[in-house]
Amino acid sequence: MSNTAVKPRIEKIPLKEKLFQKLPVFLVPVLALTGLAAIGNPSSWLTLTVAGLAMGMMIFIMASGLTVVFGLMDVINFGHGAFVAVGAFVGFTVLAWLAGWTASPSVMLNLAAVLIAILAAMLITGLLGLAFERVIVMPVYGEHLKQILVTMGGLIVAQQMIYVVWGPDELHISRPQALQGSFVIGEAAIEKYRLVAVAIGLALFLAMRHILKKTKIGLLVRAGVENGEMVEALGYRIRRLFLIVFMTGSALAGLGGVMWGLYQETITAHMGSEIMVLVFIVVIIGGLGSVEGCFIGAMLVGLLANYTAFLAPKVALISTIALMVVILMWRPQGLYPVVKAK
């Protein structure tokens, strides 16, 4: 065939279109700078920005699993909040067992206690995700309405199970010694725990990006999001991939639950369903199935919620919904819509 006159050619994407594609990346710095201009005081702005980024990171941790599950498996999981709540309660129990470590002045022991709580929460919620996928989700693949109904049912069952195991009252959870208090930089007070949340969220985002871009399992997930049937025709068992992704998504929600619980310092059986409103907003803003979009969406929601709470507390109640409306008017399928072959 080499002697056939076929001249390879590829369409060049115009610069304007390239910039348009990259535009969402600039939204976070633009919002942060707008916040600085509106707030005026750099110290208050720094405190609010770190708080906003920390909140965004925690929402991202909870939302990332949901968006990948939707993108790959086409499953709308309204029960995702159950994993957040269960994760928080498991984390609480582990931290209560390790009270000696959390009360110790040693930073290492404090962090070790949090790490063990996170790992235990991720393990339990990952296993819960396994059961959830097999029992609740598997029979309703491809049927969105049924998915919404049965996963909602799963959420209610999980909340009732929390009542059975941990009782109906809200529980108070204290951060370990080393994570209490703030660093003071100039006039700005930055809570230590928020920095930890930012670090964990950022590490998770980079790890997810690396896995999705550089590993074969990541390639399979991205390919499966676009055309699951073709992935099967290439010889891969996509059901197994579904299960791995669902368990990972559930475990991430569990991680988010521990982080959110330590942030709020109060946990309830309903905390998962309450935070799900924000999580869904972030997933929709980002573009269903997109991890990058979800990350940017979470940062925008976190920053905007904090800035408006400071500037105009009443507006804060609708700020995230307003953000979603504006983004969807600009990009109706979210910031980074995921291409579906079907």
């Binding site: 065939m1 080499s2 056939t4 006159a5 076929v6 390879p8 050619r9 590829i10 369409e11 994407i13 074969k216 390639l219 399979l220 991205r222 390919a223 999001v225 676009e226 055309n227 049937e229 073709m230 992935v231 099967e232 025709a233 290439l234 010889g235 891969y236 068992r237 996509i238 995921v338 291409v339 072959a341």
Partner: protein
């Protein structure tokens, strides 16, 4: 001399929702060479390929590959037995690069460098656009990538669904040359094609479908040389396609 059957469909029926698409397909694909599946739109050609691949389940009948029953096997198992599919829509992962598409297609291990070189010779755009996003390729390049993916590992049978559909004549010639070269590597090809000139050029055996059944099967030479038979089977003469 007739080669031994590699794939045999016996009385295969396929239902898609309320529609009864395949209504007892009997088809034999001999080992080695190219078998062409012809027929008008809606005759059931694509459904036949998808049923063989397990993407749609046969509701009745048997599919045997290399003397083993594969009717009830899941698609990945069928693929692992050495059957590859080049679907009509090409099934390219547009979010991935050309390289990533090829890496995924090599399901049993890393890319074989020697084989990859051969493929790049067969389809030069694969090498040229190795690190480009597959979504930016032209239609012809995507089709080449789709076939390249199917042959990145040695396969016993390749199911190809209308590889020349909507392509420019130069690309059709390139594709035909590549399939001819592939044929020489002892790979068996089951080709669905509407372009009779192309199909008759590379086909060894032919089966014609209509209304979900095989209405004729035999050698391509015989059909290509018999305008009256073409007229009868497809309502179109060979000349009309040239």
């Amino acid at each position: 001399m007739m080669a031994e059957a590699l794939l045999t469909l016996s009385g295969v029926h396929t239902h898609i929702g309320p529609y009864h698409i395949l209504q007892g397909v009997d088809l034999v694909v001999p080992e080695g060479g190219v078998t062409v599946l012809l027929g008008r739109n809606g005759a059931g050609k694509t459904t036949t390929l998808r049923t063989i691949m397990g993407l749609w389940n046969a509701s009745k009948g048997d599919i045997r590959f290399d003397d083993h029953l594969i009717t009830r096997l899941a698609t990945p198992e069928i693929s692992r037995r050495g059957i590859a599919l080049v679907p009509e829509d090409m099934g390219i992962f547009t979010d991935l690069t050309v390289a990533e598409n090829m890496i995924l297609a090599a399901a049993s291990g890393p890319l074989d460098a020697k084989r990859l070189e051969w493929i790049k010779e067969l389809f030069p755009p694969i090498g040229t656009f190795w690190n480009s996003s597959a979504g930016t390729l032209s239609g012809g390049q995507k089709q080449m990538l789709s076939v390249a993916r199917a042959i990145i590992e040695p396969r016993r049978l390749i199911l190809i669904d209308e590889p020349t559909k909507g392509l420019a004549p130069a690309i059709i010639k390139a594709m035909t040359d590549a399939l001819r070269e592939l044929k020489e590597t002892d790979t068996t090809i089951l080709l669905v094609e509407q372009n009779f000139a192309m199909a008759s050029g590379i086909g060894d055996t032919v089966a014609v479908m209509d209304d979900g059944r095989i209405i004729h099967s035999g050698s391509m030479k015989e059909l290509a040389g018999d305008a009256a038979l073409q007229e009868k089977l497809m309502g179109l003469s060979l000349e009309a396609h040239q």
